[in-house]
Symmetry: C2
Subunit: 216 residues, 2 copies
């Protein structure tokens, strides 16, 4: 029974899978989803195209893991920021600001994973991410409504709308890319302010809700 899974072998395999995923992520962050091609990823990871298929059964699976990883990281950060906030409204504000700030910090990657045009097969996975983002917001919006912190409104429309607004207002090709850190911060604050006001918070800025955010 030769070639048992030694420590060494296992580690090597895991490292290589990690390297492939990292290569794919880097390429996505540099050139968008369109640039994530098997040969390119393999080359970046220092292996041949065929080798990649020893680790991922198909390109779709590779992309799925990539999206899942990024989404998981972002969703946790967002949830953590929300949970750390003192009340429903500041939780919402923290979620929105955190998501915005982190997305803006890795703008290209965020856009690749969230909104950039790709083929349909790949798109299905990103849908989950947007769905989860919207779900997280929707839950917090509903909580705030129940606690009378927000006026009654259709959270099912509002949550996706906020996701879309942040995507298009901060990440998409229409958005002006902030040149420096201060500009980015200002954009995040503007976006947060817009989102909170949309939900019916009239004096978000005065309450100091827009300043919160957790950076990567």
């Amino acid at each position: 029974m030769p070639y048992r899974r030694t420590e060494n072998v296992v580690r090597h395999l895991a490292e290589r899978e990690e390297a492939i995923l990292a290569a794919a992520t880097t390429i996505a962050a540099e050139g968008g989803m369109g640039a994530v091609q098997i040969v390119a990823v393999a080359a970046r990871a220092g292996i041949a195209a065929g080798t990649l298929y020893r680790y991922f059964p198909s390109k779709s699976d590779l992309i799925a893991e990539l999206v899942t990883a990024v989404a998981g990281r972002e969703l946790s950060a967002m949830a953590a920021a929300g949970d750390a906030a003192p009340g429903p409204l500041s939780a919402l504000a923290a979620c929105i600001a955190t998501f915005s700030a982190r997305a803006l910090a890795e703008r290209r990657l965020a856009w690749a994973v969230l909104g950039e045009p790709v083929d349909a097969q790949v798109d299905a996975m990103r849908l989950d991410f947007r769905q989860s983002l919207a779900a997280e917001l929707e839950a917090r919006i509903k909580t705030a409504i129940e606690g009378r912190h927000l006026p009654d409104l259709d959270a099912g429309v509002a949550a996706p709308a906020i996701v879309g607004a942040l995507m298009e207002g901060l990440l998409g090709p229409l958005a002006a890319s902030p040149s420096d850190d201060a500009g980015a911060r200002a954009a995040v604050q503007t976006a947060t302010l817009l989102a909170l006001r949309a939900l019916g918070v009239v004096d978000a800025r005065a309450r100091g809700l827009v300043a919160q955010c957790v950076l990567p």
Copy 2:
């Protein structure tokens, strides 16, 4: 000098070009941009693939004309609705509500032309459309700010954000599709309300701003 452009010939050519464009639009409205393929469009128009190239130099040009046609129609409707309104705020409300209502009425086509993932070459044209939408809104937002109808805010972020919010909140795959006319109207009103509040209008509903819209 044979084969001069007779009335008949000219009309025939124009009709055929129109038919091709109509076929492409229908296919886009049914199956999204991905389904707009040369052979499929040609078949739907009742001609051969090669014939299509007598009318459009490339697929990109075909898509460009398709997007331009739809965009022009929608932008005019939006501008008209805005111009007919009595003041800057109701103009904004009318623009947003009109766009939303018309987009929702042809949801699949609107999404295909505005947001649906496709390849990069095609995407450039849709960018113009989103750009124009944002520009129209931005101008009206600035007017309203100058007239002190809105608080000071960064219109360059707000306008794309609203476009994104409407796209994602009403058209995108996350949005629940309204089953009936009343549901659609409610969704449009919710979206309009959110957008106006985001801009700083605190009592949009009370002022009756959200009821306006011009249907197709």
